[in-house]
């Protein structure tokens, strides 16, 4: 299994979530986060924004679905301007459902 952590624009969150739901991946965890990227924040005239608000979407999917989910998020979160965010994929060795105690998603 793979854990996919996507840092996306807060305003793109609903679009991404609906697209994932449509493709059969409704499960996710989201949290508001603050961060900056390679551009060290954002300069608007004299004002410098060091930390920009983003939404972190975390979801765990089977290995073979990982590329598809990353593709969907990329497709929907892309605007072409700086600050679109990043997607990270990391390995997950085991996943347990607490309700049943079974070791599967």
């Amino acid at each position: 299994m793979k854990m996919i952590r996507a840092f996306i624009r807060p305003e793109k969150e609903q679009e991404v979530v609906l697209a994932l739901e449509g493709a059969g991946f409704p499960s996710l965890t989201k949290m508001p986060v603050f961060g900056r990227g390679r551009q060290k924040g954002l300069q608007v005239g004299p004002v410098h924004y060091d930390e920009l608000p983003k939404t972190l979407i975390m979801t765990v999917v089977d290995d073979e679905d990982a590329d598809k989910v990353v593709g969907i998020i990329h497709d929907k979160a892309k605007t072409g301007f700086i600050g679109d965010g990043k997607i990270f994929v990391s390995p997950v060795e085991a996943a347990y459902t607490v309700r049943t105690g079974e070791a599967k998603l």
């Binding site: 854990m3 739901e21 409704p26 965890t29 390995p91 997950v92 060795e93 347990y96 607490v98 309700r99």
Partner: protein, 138 residues
């Protein structure tokens, strides 16, 4: 070392912390998150089960999804259930026991009990002393 990521019900947090303390792994990170599972968010019954048994039924029946959505200005189309996200870094041999006790404490048998994920961690460093890897998490 392994990272254990657990998404659990909010009111189960004190019990879970206690269980982990008894196990000898009290260190953890807690985050307040929102999420949903296969059921695509909160049904009426799911909101009720988010509350402890001790709450009176009148209180339990109150938050319908639409009322909840209005209160939190959520669009009705995507509803999320507030959860707590625990992150625990533990040595390999302790993972089984920790996962087992998290499942034991949090299991109610209803939808929304949460998930536990185990993933590998390659390195660790304790900032105060500079200890690395195994000593840093013990």
């Amino acid at each position: 070392m392994k990272e254990i990521t657990a998404v659990i019900r909010r009111y189960k947090l004190p019990e879970t912390k206690k269980a982990l303390e008894e196990l000898g792994y009290p260190s953890l990170t807690i985050q307040s998150v929102e999420g949903r599972g296969k059921q695509k968010g909160a049904l009426c019954a799911e909101m009720d089960s988010e509350m402890p048994e001790s709450f009176c039924t009148a209180v339990k029946l109150k938050p319908t999804p639409s009322a909840y959505a209005l209160e939190h200005t959520l669009p009705k189309i995507a509803l999320y259930v507030p959860k707590r996200l625990l992150t625990i870094i533990a040595p390999d041999d302790a993972v089984g026991g920790i996962v087992e006790s998290i499942i034991k404490v949090n299991r109610t048998g209803r939808h929304g009990d949460g998930k536990v994920f185990v993933s590998p961690i390659e390195g660790a460093l304790r900032v105060r002393t500079g200890e690395k890897d195994k000593e840093a998490v013990s």
